[in-house]
């Protein structure tokens, strides 16, 4: 297996863009990525596009060649990957795998979602299709409801509090405030978070990520070819994807994501590092409780201690291991199909020392964790500086 490197990153801003369609967002991210890498569309040998629900949100299918051609890329394998909110994590996993296997040298992976053209109840319904339509969704569960039930159980078993959840929201909003590409650049207080409008008890609007439009892209090449490209390269030291049952009521223990634990263990093993070596992370905070469960499952703290660990400031920009310095899905925004590769882009920005006011002092070894549904897909990636 060949070592793989990221030599280009590209993003659109995340937000609500009524004048932009899915394709124009994806093309902008791809063009930014190719420009960053100093590569041309003609050099791309394969293309993987992460997208959760373009056919439902925008009515368009056959998205990978549709997007690629608009970016000047034809005549290559162009494939859409769908894994709910881990769609572009899955696209990234496929792209890394194909370069590592020696199938291709120059592979583009992108992610896109155009969500804000639909009213909120319709968005909730489209997102709910990532759950089990025959059981939990039929009974009236939404994704906030599923994570609310995870939160309730985590509170019951470990004493996690609403203040712990609010600490995640306050931190991520503080980071998003400093990110020029974030959807919501607004600081909030613990009191505001606690007094938010209920969505699914105990979660309020301040516990939920945003409904956003946006696109992201990365260019991957074998490590031996990084000098052929302009972008400051970062190595993919470890990566793994894992699956689990879709329905929450079929999981033995809903206070942990088994797919996250499995993919993290494999990625750590491939990278030859452990949780204590990781200096910063982007984790999948689709809801505040998801960040708490993620940092436990990744081994950043002990099981059940994610709440106090967060409230103690360990995951702040100035903490011992910063988490979601981009603002996370909570404040940066969550265009679901773009999120996984967005996490990779945000880590590369930190590892290049280009994060401006958000820059952390140590960024040589970083981890991204992208979750699909209520834990049926997880992709964990470990990046290292060259």
């Amino acid at each position: 297996m060949r070592p793989v490197a990221v030599v280009g990153i590209g993003k659109t801003a995340f937000g609500a863009f009524p004048d932009r369609d899915l394709r124009s967002l994806a093309v902008e991210a791809i063009q930014n990525c190719l420009a960053d890498a100093g590569a041309s569309p003609g050099q791309v040998e394969a293309f993987y596009l992460g997208n959760f629900a373009g056919p439902s949100f925008a009515g368009q299918s056959h998205l990978a060649p549709y997007v690629a051609a608009a970016a000047g890329i034809t005549g290559i394998p162009a494939t859409r990957c769908e894994a709910a909110c881990a769609s572009s994590g899955a696209a990234f996993f496929q792209a890394v795998s194909s370069v590592a296997a020696g199938l291709y040298d120059v592979v583009l992976a992108a992610g896109v979602e155009k969500m804000t053209s639909q009213p909120t109840p319709r968005v909730a319904e489209i997102l709910a299709s990532a759950g089990d339509l025959g059981g939990e969704i039929k009974a009236g569960a939404t994704f906030p409801a599923l994570f609310a039930m995870i939160a309730r159980r985590h509170m019951h078993e470990y004493g996690t509090t609403r203040e712990h959840l609010a600490a995640v929201a306050v931190k991520n909003h503080d980071n998003g405030f400093l990110n020029p590409q974030a959807h919501m650049r607004k600081r909030i207080t613990i009191e505001q978070a606690l007094a938010g409008k209920p969505v699914a008890e105990p979660l309020t609007i301040y516990d939920c990520s945003l409904v956003s439009d946006g696109a992201t892209a990365v260019l991957l090449v074998p490590l031996e070819r990084v000098s052929d490209f302009a972008g400051k390269a970062v190595r993919v030291l470890g990566i793994a994807q894992a699956s689990d049952r879709v329905a929450l009521d079929e999981k033995d223990d809903i206070t942990t994501f088994r797919a996250v634990k499995v993919s993290a263990e494999k990625a750590y093993r491939m990278a030859g590092v452990g949780p204590d070596d990781i200096q910063l992370a982007e984790v999948h905070d689709c809801f505040t409780i998801a960040e708490i469960v993620a940092i436990e499952d990744l081994g950043f703290c002990k099981k059940g201690e994610g709440g106090p660990y967060t409230a103690d400031g360990c995951t702040l920009r100035t903490g011992s291991r910063p988490v979601n310095t981009s603002g996370g899905l909570k404040a940066k925004g969550h265009p679901v199909g773009a999120t996984g590769i967005g996490q990779i882009c945000d880590l590369v920005i930190q590892m290049r020392g280009e994060a401006g006011e958000r820059q952390v002092p140590k960024a040589e070894l970083a981890l991204a964790q992208n979750l699909g549904g209520s834990g049926a897909t997880s992709v964990v990636t470990i990046l290292s500086a060259l």
Binding site: A145, M149, A200, P202, L248
Partner: protein
């Protein structure tokens, strides 16, 4: 359409009250959902009618309505 057979009673494993519903349940909100650990084994996601329930409360099966199982707090 044949409604599924009756379910056993059970205990609340976790629960939430939904205030922001999907499109088709806009008129039901707010409503309580729970994952019930059934006495007969396994778990099911169900609606709660009547009094709100909390984790570990005992609940009894009421009926299926539009293929959705309903439970209520055991008196």
């Amino acid at each position: 359409m044949t409604e599924p057979i009756a379910l056993s009673n059970g205990r609340v494993y976790t629960e939430t009250t939904v205030w922001s519903p999907p499109e088709k349940f806009v008129n039901d909100a707010p409503y309580q959902l729970a994952i019930i650990s059934l006495d007969s084994g396994g778990r099911i996601t169900a609606r709660i009618e009547g009094d709100r329930v909390a984790i570990n409360d005992l609940v009894e099966f009421v009926e299926y309505r539009n293929e959705i199982p309903y439970f209520r707090k055991k008196q």
